[in-house]
Amino acid sequence: MTMRDAALEAPSSDRNRNPGEDGIWIFVGGDLSIFALFFVVFLYYRGLDLELFNQSREALSIPLGLLNTLILLTSSWFLASAIEDMREGHFERAPKLLVGSIVLGLGFVLVKYFEYSEKISNGITLVTNDFYMYYYILTGIHLFHLIIGLGVLLFLLKKSRDLSAWGRNSATLFESGAIYWHMVDLLWIFIFPLLYLLR
């Protein structure tokens, strides 16, 4: 959105409406139901070979999983604060907060990289057993979503630098992007206990 568009819009003060636009909920609702299917499939196959799944789970690093949970929660908090700032009409700090959000997202990727390479160097791959197949596929598909999310955040960062007024269009844009990023966060909050903690 250009500055001129933003200036033309009436300031949005209505806090009771749904955040973002309605369409983004189709994407998020749809994607969450696909992941719900993945989780059910995982739990079903886990039930078939409980011993193998429990034993394999112990090789996963709970501290690294926990670290990534904290990283994503903090990243989401940065993003939410940036939007809160812009809503209040403060546009100086928001890009910095968004950079923080992006750097934390990259941190998640880095931690995942170390996690994967440690597993692979120990000979644990996608085909080692069913548990690791789900481990790699679920975390891999989540990582794929997260990388798309980093693209979305970069786009929001660029937009936030041009912004001088908060209106309906900017609310739609930033809130829809944030809903996506929070979804990535929420998915990890399901994946972490399912894979790392469930005994």
């Binding site: 369409g23 994407f27 696909i34 993945f38 499939v41 197949m133 596929i137």
Partner: protein, 241 residues
Amino acid sequence: MVDIGRANPKVLSGLWWCGVVSIITFFLALWPMMGFIPPPAPTLTPQEFYNLIFDNVLMFRAGVIVVMISAALLLPITALMTYFIARMERGHTPMLALTSFSAGIINALLTLLPAVVWAAIAYREDRDVMDMQLMNDIMWLCYMMYWQPFVIQIVAMGVTTLKARTPETQIFPRWYGYYVLWTAVAVCGGGLSVFFLDGPFAWNGLVGWWLVVVMFALYWIVSFVVWRKAINREALELGSG
């Protein structure tokens, strides 16, 4: 500034019907004619696969012909999608329309071309069954792993739908843009099939097959409804029936 002008709504309607026929015949061929819904399990022995094909090989061969016609009919629907995207890009050189157009052509080609491998399997009954298995592997991996052109074709559609914010350029509801992007993300999973001979991610599994094919079929059903409405509106605006 580029304005591609308006297409004849009757031509658009013709393209739309080609698309409907394409998708219906595709499932018709795969399902009752070839017995490939769900696909043959990757774990079938070569002999079991041979029996599957040659129990009713005439119908199977006819099915291949229908699949190939259906694949070619993806070309008119590609033209229709390109027109819609270019309409939404009005005022700019329609680069996303070109992106979608080129991806759509490759998508049609990659549906058309591998089908001949099935024809070759059914062509010679005295062939080594191991070779038949190899050809069938190639065939299914083509269909499940070549999601990229289709995804590019529809991502261009989704992105343009979300970018079109003025009354002149907005021809689809905004939820459609998000819906299309969701489909694009969901069908990527088929690419995993190369890793698995069985289980949910194999080419006949719950995720590797059913999720992908349901999302794919739903995409076409939803799109045909949305596109029909847009064509009817165009016809109304131009004052011709």
